[in-house]
């Protein structure tokens, strides 16, 4: 054996041990995610692949790790997580974490966003969840037109919208009935597919719209919302009720004009 190689001059070349060192990294699947996906879904997929304990996960991404191991980190707010570390761990471009939260920091209207997971059943099945689903005034999925749901799809157990032991130990599955919420991940070689660009664009427009509607933190007089009911104002509801195409057109104009929706 090896006789042919012994006569091959090209084989007799020393190799220097100067290969670049591969940096240690977590298992990251940026190709499974859609821009604008919620921090809950990003972290759930990360947990699915890496199976870290809550202590490890909290040390990695939470600003106050002890909070995660006790009552959990609120995933509605960006300022509770170390977004830089999150981006590195997820192996995604920095822009991917934008729009992963309901608000950047403490916000006077955050009470309108649910602390329990709200989801579109069809989106969840494909491994997508948007932070806009958490707003209680957001009633239907703009893609599938399905009503928002809460609780495990099979047993109805509450799913906290927090980074806690449940997210780390049972990512994307119910800790009580063990139902798998994203069936495409379940089989061997299973994977998630990102939304198509049109769908992703629709969510991006809605996210812009809601950011605009809610307004900056501390701006208590947002005309987009009726404070007494916690619902969208009449003007916003009109936009909400238009034909889908018209609404998207309307929403897209918001991003260009940047005028307050008052």
């Amino acid at each position: 054996m090896g006789a042919a190689l012994l006569r091959d001059p090209s084989f007799w070349q020393p190799l220097t041990l100067d290969l670049p060192k591969v940096a240690r990294s977590y298992c990251a699947r940026p190709e499974w995610t859609t821009p604008g996906e919620s921090a809950w879904m990003l972290l759930s997929k990360f947990s699915w692949c890496n199976r870290l304990t809550i202590t490890q996960l909290a040390r990695l991404v939470a600003k106050l790790p002890d909070e995660a191991t006790t009552h959990g980190v609120d995933l509605r707010r960006a300022d509770r997580l170390n977004v830089g570390a999150l981006v590195v761990a997820l192996g995604s471009p920095a822009t991917s974490s934008q729009g992963a939260f309901c608000v950047e920091q403490r916000h006077h209207l955050l009470w309108l966003a649910a602390t329990e997971l709200r989801y579109c059943p069809e989106c969840l099945r494909t491994g997508f969840h948007s932070p806009i689903f958490q707003w209680r005034f957001f009633v239907r999925c703009p893609i599938h037109r399905m009503r928002m749901r809460t609780g495990c799809p099979r047993c109805g157990a509450s799913v906290p919208y927090r980074l806690g032991a449940q997210l780390a130990d049972c990512p994307l599955r119910c800790p009580y009935c063990h139902a798998v919420w994203v069936p495409c991940l379940q089989p061997h070689a299973g994977r998630c597919s990102p939304l198509n660009p049109q769908q992703a664009d629709a969510f991006a427009q809605w996210a812009d719209y809601l950011t605009h509607a809610i307004g900056p933190a501390g701006h208590r007089l947002s005309a987009a919302l009726d404070r007494s009911t916690g619902r969208l104002s009449a003007a916003c509801r009109r936009a909400h009720q238009y034909q889908t195409e018209k609404r998207f057109t309307y929403v897209s104009t918001l991003t260009t004009h940047k005028q307050p929706l008052h």
């Binding site: 042919a4 084989f11 020393p14 190799l15 220097t16 699915w48 199976r51 490890q56 061997h188």
Partner: protein, 327 residues
């Protein structure tokens, strides 16, 4: 040493000075052919055995770089199997996670570690778009039966994920004894996966093989493409006058043979790569101080280099150890 020589890099940065190079050997050639055949025919494992210090770990490092060069998309990992009092699944999967360059190698349940490992291997393979995964297990004679079973589970998990794991077990001759024991116990699930092929790893056994290895020093350039072979780099004036290391093969072989016979070592001469490369490195590093157009190696010089390689001392040490065990 002539300080006027304008070398492309300083001597202390050269791979030979830093011992950061590996030269091919006839046994490495055999191993490379075996690996290529396994990859081609989907033979998922082989047992490679040889005496200590013969160059097995050296061969693994060479092959990892060689495979990275020839199959840049293929995932290649290496673990060093440690001898432990009692096998631990956590320790086993932690070692594999470390080999796979995962950022978290501990701190979870066994199931979680196993899932983490397969996800990581799968992610790298899918990102590289090559479903072949090669794992070199050095010192594989230290693996216990239960660890083979865990390795088999990883193999099966990856197969379910449409990946093909090739495991090359590299170790001391006890590895073949393990294989025989598994066969006797009917552990076909282990032998059939990881031990179908066998390869005996040996040192250099002739002057011709020495010549082939020495020719690598004449041929290889550092920096690549600079026209500065290792021989030219350390002995530029002698090289310009026509000195080539390959021509020294007979003298070096004879020096090792003399040392072997004078020390009354048993068996035929088989030079482990460790001592061969040490002798050559000493020849370059000591010879460079005498570099001149008239410089030539001679038998006395090579005899000194063989002494500096500690070949005889190491062989005697091994013999004393063996005799104390068998007494």
């Amino acid at each position: 040493m002539d300080h006027t020589v304008n070398r492309p890099v300083s001597v202390d940065k050269h791979p030979l000075t830093l011992r950061k190079y590996r030269i091919p050997t006839p046994s490495i050639a055999a191993l490379r052919e075996l690996i290529d055949e396994c990859l081609l025919l989907y033979v998922t494992g082989a047992a490679i055995e040889g005496r200590p210090r013969i160059g097995k770990s050296y061969a693994i490092e060479f092959m990892r770089r060689d495979l990275a060069k020839r199959y840049p998309k293929m995932s290649v990992y290496g673990i060093r199997c440690k001898k432990s009092q009692a096998p631990s699944e956590n320790a086993f999967f932690s070692a594999l996670l470390h080999a796979a360059n995962h950022a978290a190698t501990a701190g979870s349940s066994r199931t979680a570690l196993r899932g983490r490992l397969t996800h990581k291997i799968r992610q790298v393979a899918e990102t590289n778009d090559d479903h072949r995964v090669v794992l070199f297990a050095d010192e594989a004679q230290n693996l216990r039966e239960i660890e083979y079973e865990w390795l088999r589970e990883v193999h099966d998990d990856l197969e379910m994920d449409e990946l093909r794991l090739f495991v090359f077990l590299v170790g001391q001759p006890q590895l073949l004894a393990q294989k025989s024991a598994f066969q006797a116990q009917g552990k076909e699930q282990i032998v059939a996966r990881f031990m179908i092929e066998e390869l005996h790893f040996r040192g250099l056994t002739s002057a011709e093989e020495c010549a082939a290895c020495l020719s690598a020093y004449d041929r290889a350039e550092y920096p690549p493409g600079s026209d500065w072979s290792y021989t030219r780099f350390f002995l530029p004036q002698a090289h310009a006058a026509g000195l080539r290391l390959e021509q020294e093969a007979a003298a070096l072989w004879a020096a090792f043979e003399d040392a072997h016979i004078r020390a009354n070592l048993s068996g035929d001469l088989e030079i482990p790569m460790k001592y061969f490369t040490t002798a050559v490195e000493a020849a370059f590093l000591i010879g460079m101080n005498r570099d001149a157009s008239t410089f030539k190696f001679n038998d006395e010089f090579w005899a000194q280099m063989v002494v500096k390689s500690r070949y005889v001392l190491a062989q005697r040490a091994g013999r004393v150890l063996l005799s104390s065990i068998t007494a």
